[in-house]
Symmetry: C3
Amino acid sequence: MTEQLRPDGSLRHLLTLEGLTKPQVERLLERAQGMVRPLGARPAMSQALAGSTVANLFMEPSTRTRVSFELAAKRLGAHVVNLELQLSSRVKGESMLDTVYTLQSLHVDALVIRDAEAGVPQLVAANVAPHVSVLSAGEAHVSHPTQGLLDALTILQRKQRFDGLAVAIVGDIRHSRVARSAWHALHILGVTDLRVVAPAALMPEAREFPGVTRCTDLSAGIEGADVVMVLRIQKERMGQADLPDNARYFTAWGLTHERLKAARPDAIVMHPQPMNRGIEIAADVADGAQSVIRDQVRNGVAVRMAVLAQVLDARGETP
Amino acid sequence: MTEQLRPDGSLRHLLTLEGLTKPQVERLLERAQGMVRPLGARPAMSQALAGSTVANLFMEPSTRTRVSFELAAKRLGAHVVNLELQLSSRVKGESMLDTVYTLQSLHVDALVIRDAEAGVPQLVAANVAPHVSVLSAGEAHVSHPTQGLLDALTILQRKQRFDGLAVAIVGDIRHSRVARSAWHALHILGVTDLRVVAPAALMPEAREFPGVTRCTDLSAGIEGADVVMVLRIQKERMGQADLPDNARYFTAWGLTHERLKAARPDAIVMHPQPMNRGIEIAADVADGAQSVIRDQVRNGVAVRMAVLAQVLDARGETP
Amino acid sequence: MTEQLRPDGSLRHLLTLEGLTKPQVERLLERAQGMVRPLGARPAMSQALAGSTVANLFMEPSTRTRVSFELAAKRLGAHVVNLELQLSSRVKGESMLDTVYTLQSLHVDALVIRDAEAGVPQLVAANVAPHVSVLSAGEAHVSHPTQGLLDALTILQRKQRFDGLAVAIVGDIRHSRVARSAWHALHILGVTDLRVVAPAALMPEAREFPGVTRCTDLSAGIEGADVVMVLRIQKERMGQADLPDNARYFTAWGLTHERLKAARPDAIVMHPQPMNRGIEIAADVADGAQSVIRDQVRNGVAVRMAVLAQVLDARGETP
């Protein structure tokens, strides 16, 4: 794995949560919490990154995540440029790196990279100049570290702790970077009752998610859970044979109010969005009293501000 | 119709001009006039919206209107993000609302929405959080309220009054949101001699535009007019059968210098752009001494600044 | 040629370097040099253009050049809007001008224009209002003036002079605006030993590049050169019949370390990017000790800042 830390131990890149220490994750969550404002209030804002430049380099379309990073950077006073690249696979690696070298020569300080294929954020991080930080905004099915952090922050806000919690991640685990980053975050933060709940076809490989409980029955899987994290069916990452039928999937696996009763009465319901309402989640659950889905979005911009400030503002500062 | 006003009577959304009072429209025009600067001078600029965020959510391409809103927001000190969404009809309503919920959770204060289908701005306005304002930047053939305001402002600048004016709207009235919003504005402001002039196929339904004079002869329709507002042929909103032949349309309906002589000698010529030169308007009329088309554009950014300032800056202020 | 200077002799537009005087070019290079910062340092930044608006109007995709201009404008405090237009040839001229008239009425101060066809920047410059400046960001195979300036600045930084230098431009000269603008810059600045080195099929017309040495042998062409400027194979501007085979081109014309030995030992290697590694240049030469390709990029943003500041900031100032 590419080294994410500077020699002094401070965070330089954020490519994955894997390998971060509990204090490092806690520090990011604490900093993010300081950026959270209630809906309707002015967002947190500063000039901490005035004079810095952030480039959003998206090779997979994602308007919402791009806007979240864009606003995080602008609200810290940075300049932001957006690039959407469609590179053919044949020339991708080298064209990508030449684009990155161009951006670093233009005094870009942070590269926010999203790609449907695995490995690109690492490749870039391993090759950029020392003054540049790389932040993954979603890498294939592998990693989505700011999503993992915002999920952890959302849980912490509602449950005030991680130890002793039962967290069930439900649905298309196999193709989900969200599940992988949530698992990293929660594992680091001390959640011991972590369950992956999915039909057999959407279960991850046996070697993945060590230490979690695997369950192929929805009701059993969310029994007594404090947190039910529903995943998006990632049709774009499935082969034709694996594609579930929408109506049948909802019948067997869609999270309804009825099914949610198996969880604790104060369980919170999460979803990384965009949602397929009526497929993996019933619309009235998504919009219901136990849903914290909009909190997740609000926390997302706070987490991205915290991460940007941590890697850029703190250049030369110890962590 | 969705309520556009806050309980205290101040303007919260701008989806249509229909139903606004004369003082409300006059207040917006007055505020916009204060933002107008001569061509070549520095544009009006302030930090009135510093800390606010405006999202341009365009589901129909329109570079010029997007840039006009974008500059209006930036020149008031707001942060701006641009989103271009292409949503399939099947999932449009719910995907749209989930995107809107995301934006409001990212502390976006104003959503500028353009859509080729009717109803979306209303749907969004009826569902957003109380701190968010929705501004229509063009809704199907239904409404384009900032265009109606900029048209009214342009007329006021040149004619110094609305009462006693003869205004002819010429061309593809049936498919035109510009015509509908101009009619709303001018009707509210007291123009009584308002004419819609079009070939029968492009006339609106009988129940629409109550109180106007309908005329299917161009020369008769603009006879003695103070204002001739030429519309774009909206081929993208016509069925195959309705498509006029360009050359024949110009021969019968194109506004030429010769034809313009039927209007008053000091009549002004308007067009909402983009123009089909040589189809609905002769190039030398578009660029001629009676044309105020570029004034319309300049007034457009002033109107959008006024509207943004009115709905955002004045949160908590009475109108 | 469209006049680029104001009546007082100051630079208003930058469409081509052709016809500029040596002091004019030197002034731009000097101003650009003042904007250069080492990689990893904060970029130069000011509020010199606060209140100004720059529009990037790109009719040919070019993410890197657009970002370079965008950051140059933002780092001078200007507002920036990006427009990507795909206009069909039939309506291009007039639609283009109507878009330009719209932008000038929105108080845009500088239009940065890139187009795959020749003539558009001139057409625009000849028609815009007096307060608007037009900057070419690349015009067909004809001209790319900021590239010519950044190439000259890069040479000056490394060689501290222009007189007495031997400069070889190598490769697809025929289709290259970079070659044409480099030639203009270097000719004005006094380089007398200027060589165009290309296979016969990629040589420019005989009337072009007067005064240069033409050479169809790579080793002979770069013999004793201080500067080897390698060009991109412009496949997008070639007919099917002219397309070279990649491997054969590299064998005959690719710049390798072995071949580079024919140049002076302290020769610098330049490339305008994007590179076709393994076609016109070997990867290890592109990334090697003699390569100044990343300096070119860094100098690009400095040159664009200098040009924007020169045409906008200096309105009313003598040159």
